[in-house]
């Protein structure tokens, strides 16, 4: 591994990370074939009509299940943006989720999915105390069971 990805992975490996004492573990209490699945990404995705992500934005944007005209508002120049331009599923696998639901692998696709911006302050305190729990409540209101988290 060489080039920009190697440089970023090496940089990331040296960065301090927030600690979580006694992390929770929620076992899925039903078969996957009956579970509703949502995607949450840190790629700062949004529809053109939604507010753009500010630098260090700790908020989130909701994407409807049918949305496909989406842009990536992430502020980092340090990863590939062209893959998403070609196929949003390489970051936000919404069509794949629909296929898994059609195949009966998962029960259902959530009516809404959510995007945060990955470039957060080190402590991620707003994410932990405020916007993260708020996003979880939105998903629980949508009867979501499983969340697939995708980074960029």
């Amino acid at each position: 591994m060489t080039g920009g990805d190697a440089a970023m992975r090496s940089y990331g490996a040296q960065q301090p990370v927030p600690t979580f004492e006694d992390p929770a573990f929620t076992k899925l209490d039903k078969p996957l074939s009956q579970a509703r699945v949502a995607i949450v990404t840190s790629a700062a995705l949004h529809r053109p009509d939604q507010d753009r992500f500010a630098p260090a934005d700790s908020g989130f944007r909701a994407l409807d299940r049918a949305d496909r005209n989406i842009v990536m508002g992430h502020w980092s120049p340090n990863f590939d943006h062209s893959g998403f331009q070609l196929d949003i599923n390489v970051v936000y696998p919404i069509d794949r989720l629909e296929e898994l639901a059609a195949q009966g692998v998962i029960g259902d696709v959530s009516p809404r999915h959510f995007a945060f911006a990955g470039n957060q302050p080190e402590t991620v305190s707003e994410l932990r105390l405020d916007t993260g729990p708020a996003c979880a409540k939105e998903m629980l209101a949508d009867a979501v069971d499983v969340v697939v988290l995708t980074p960029v």
Binding site: P23, T26, V37, W75, P77, H81, G83, F116, P133, V148
Partner: protein
């Protein structure tokens, strides 16, 4: 991502992280992790590769069977492509214009075709497509030694304007380039090594640094390793 996983689990949701940074995920230990050594920015592997994307999701969802925290690694490794995209650049049209300005004007038709085909554009963070040439003209002046304080950039925020310029070029290039989807960073490599805009951006960045502009003002104009 790993922090959000912990937050969501505490609220009663079952999560799976598709991790792209191994050491970060290992230290944060979210409940279920599938580490994928794929290019950064492509967590599902490859654009338009339905089979691989489904495989990644199926392996991720299979982690829900575990009764305890689990960390697995996808067997496939995909490297980024550092070779520049093969994409022809418009020939010089108006020699009176700075090269980057002339070039950006030459790419406009391809950019417009891309917007028509995709229905959406990433240009618009700080400037619209009509302002790309004006912004490049200022980057050209900075590169030639003009003061960044006395020659203002349309859109003001360098990092946002540079994103817009790169998005304009990326969308045009993907429209022009034939063949299968390029590897990650092939477009980035093309932009910085082969286009006049990329060269002007890097030269302007160097000048801003030398003129003592604030670090965030110039540093994020390009990927850190460049």
């Amino acid at each position: 991502m790993s922090a959000l996983a912990h937050v969501f689990e505490a609220e009663g949701l079952s999560t799976i992280v598709l991790a792209s940074m191994k050491e970060v995920a290992e230290r944060m230990m979210p409940p279920r992790t599938l580490y994928c050594e794929f290019p950064l920015g492509r967590p599902l592997g490859r654009p338009d590769d339905v089979e691989l994307q489904l495989d990644v999701l199926n392996r991720a969802l299979a982690l829900l069977d575990s009764d305890e925290p689990v960390f697995e690694t996808h067997p496939l490794v995909i490297e980024s492509e550092e070779t520049p995209l093969a994409c022809s650049i418009p020939p010089r049209f108006d020699a009176a214009l700075p090269p980057a300005v002339d070039e950006a004007q030459g790419l406009r038709a391809a950019y417009d075709r891309s917007v028509d085909a995709r229905g959406v554009t990433s240009v618009g963070r700080a400037i619209d497509a009509d302002t790309v040439v004006e912004a490049l003209d200022v980057l050209h002046q900075w590169a030639e030694g003009s003061s960044w304080k006395e020659t203002p950039l349309p859109g003001k925020i360098t990092i946002a304007v540079c994103h817009d310029i790169r998005a304009y070029y990326t969308e045009a290039a993907l429209e022009l380039a034939a063949g299968p989807a390029p590897g990650a960073r092939a477009v980035e490599s093309w932009f910085y090594t082969e286009t006049e805009a990329g060269k002007a951006m890097m030269a302007a960045r160097t000048q801003l640094k030398e003129q003592g502009a604030p670090f965030p003002f110039w540093f994020y104009m390009a990927p850190a390793h460049r």
